[in-house]
């Protein structure tokens, strides 16, 4: 059952220096319970695509159905079914973690008591209980990212969108986040769509990859299939496959050490 299905989804921006076709026509299908990665270099249109699918941005072309609702005709229902974690999160640094979680729950139309209960549940599940009464500014790195994810899960969405979820995290934080994403899918059946330009993340975490470049889909498949098709063998690195597909590497080599 397809939880996301887009046909020629497109977005053109009008800027002072002319029109920019950020997304040129994306056909995307995501089945329920999948972890799908949108992989591509910076500027490929991944974030714009995500912003369209979460109703933040209206498409200028094409159509999409998200969680059974038409994206353009019924955005409110799409919002009810999805959670979104932006690249740099979205909490007010002055407010406490608890206050942000509870207000967010109520914005998702949970009752006051239920919102408080969900806040406690998520804090427990994401190891934030000690931090509930600290201001959000007191959290850094991995904890901040876990809070951002908690903010998106209060209403138990079927679909979770993550925009570059591990950018800026240290290696331990990255693996912890990958485990969290897998747990969400395994325990709650949540479908996860994430964008990334990290090939190790795409390889380790995603069931299926959609490679985006220049605003369109250039390839899709499981990591193994992509390696086989574009780099010659299933044991090749995703880096080689990516190079073959786009003619350049995904991102500069991550300067962080592989192991701490």
């Amino acid at each position: 059952m397809a939880i996301i299905s887009t046909v020629s989804l497109a977005r053109t921006f009008r800027t002072k220096s002319g029109t920019v076709q950020a997304v040129r026509g994306i056909d995307l299908t995501v089945r329920e319970g999948e972890i799908v990665g949108l992989l591509g270099p910076n500027g490929a249109g991944k974030t714009t695509t995500l912003r369209m699918l979460t109703t933040l941005l209206a498409p200028t072309g094409g159509a999409a159905t998200v969680a059974g609702h038409d994206l353009v005709k019924d955005p409110a229902s799409v919002r009810r079914a999805c959670g979104y974690v932006a690249q740099s999160g979205g909490v007010d640094p002055q407010l406490t973690v608890r206050e942000e979680l509870v207000t967010q729950g109520r914005m998702y139309r949970l009752g006051r008591a239920r919102a408080a209960e969900r806040a406690r549940e998520l804090a427990h599940e994401l190891d934030l209980t000690d931090l509930l009464d600290r201001p959000c500014a007191a959290l850094s790195g991995g904890r901040r990212r876990r809070l951002d994810i908690a903010m998106a899960l209060l209403h138990e969405p079927r679909l979770l969108f993550l925009d570059e979820p591990t950018t800026g995290l240290d290696p331990a934080g990255r693996t912890a986040l990958w485990d969290l994403v897998r747990r969400l899918r395994d325990d709650h059946g949540t479908t996860v769509v994430l964008t990334t330009h990290y090939l190790d993340e795409a390889d380790a975490l995603c069931d299926r990859l959609v490679v985006v470049d220049g605003g369109t889909v250039v390839a899709e498949g499981t990591p193994a299939a992509l390696k086989l098709r574009y780099a010659g063998s299933a044991d090749a690195s995703l880096q080689d496959a990516f190079l073959a597909l786009t003619g350049r590497s995904a991102a500069p080599a991550d300067p962080a050490p592989v192991a701490v």
Partner: protein, 249 residues
């Protein structure tokens, strides 16, 4: 649903404002300075209206408070945009109108509070005005604040950096204040200036509040002022809501 959403956003914004003494009092400085240091200069002058010079000046100062305070409301949203809070809220099912209304109602609350403080100070300086008139003045402050804050948020949502925002607002507020006759009635000036001032919506508001402050409630000024204030507020809220709906474009 709209009521629930608006109350939620209003509560959140009000809690944020209550934490900061600066946020609660920031609009008061300019009108207070005029009240204390400019007001006494007017007490002997023939200003043309009924009542004392305070009954002519204080209505203008109330609207000046709304003008300079609420026009800068957009700064708060630029900061929230930077933290990702605005987009995070727009992803939830919260009504777009509530996202705006909750904020402008918070601004109206804060500025009516400041208006009360201003009037108390004015009473200490010598203002005597009917209570009903004073309350009507507060209603106009609230309506003006809602209008200007909504437009300020609309402008701020479309700006990516705070740098351009301040100068843009500054360029609009000072001429508005002068051309509307907030400090002194425009009727004192030459006919061309008076005529020009009729293009400013604020002119109608200040005339209405000046009438209220002398107890004249059923005048043409009051009717015009009420229509302009309400119409302006409705227009501004419509514009502001649309920006919350389509932001990111």
């Amino acid at each position: 649903m709209l009521l629930h959403d608006t109350a939620l956003i209003y509560g959140r914004c009000l809690r944020q404002s209550l934490r900061s003494r600066f946020a609660l009092l920031f609009g008061l400085l300019m009108p207070m300075l005029y009240l204390l240091f400019f007001g006494p200069l007017l007490t002997g002058l023939p200003l043309g209206g009924r009542g004392s010079s305070w009954q002519v000046l204080v209505p203008g100062l109330l609207l000046q408070l709304g003008l300079f305070g609420a026009s800068f409301a957009g700064f708060a949203i630029i900061i929230e945009k930077g933290h990702g809070v605005v987009d995070r809220m727009r992803v939830t099912p919260v009504s777009r109108l509530a996202l705006l209304l909750g904020r402008v109602l918070r601004d109206a609350t804060v500025f009516v509070f400041q208006a009360v403080l201003l009037v108390l100070a004015a009473v200490a300086m010598g203002l005597r005005a009917p209570l009903a008139g004073v309350l009507i003045g507060f209603v106009f402050v609230a309506l003006l604040t809602v209008s200007l804050a909504a437009l300020s948020y609309a402008l701020a949502m479309r700006m990516d950096t705070p740098q351009g925002f301040g100068p843009a607002i500054n360029a609009l507020t000072m001429p508005s204040m002068l051309l509307s006759g907030l400090m002194l009635p425009m009727t004192l000036g030459p006919a061309w200036l008076d005529a020009l001032s009729h293009l400013m919506p604020l002119r109608y508001l200040v005339d209405a509040v000046r009438d209220a402050y002398v107890g004249a409630y059923a005048t043409g000024h009051m009717l015009l002022g009420s229509l302009v204030a309400t119409g302006f507020a409705l227009l501004a809220v419509t514009v502001g809501t649309r920006v919350f709906r389509t932001a990111g474009a």
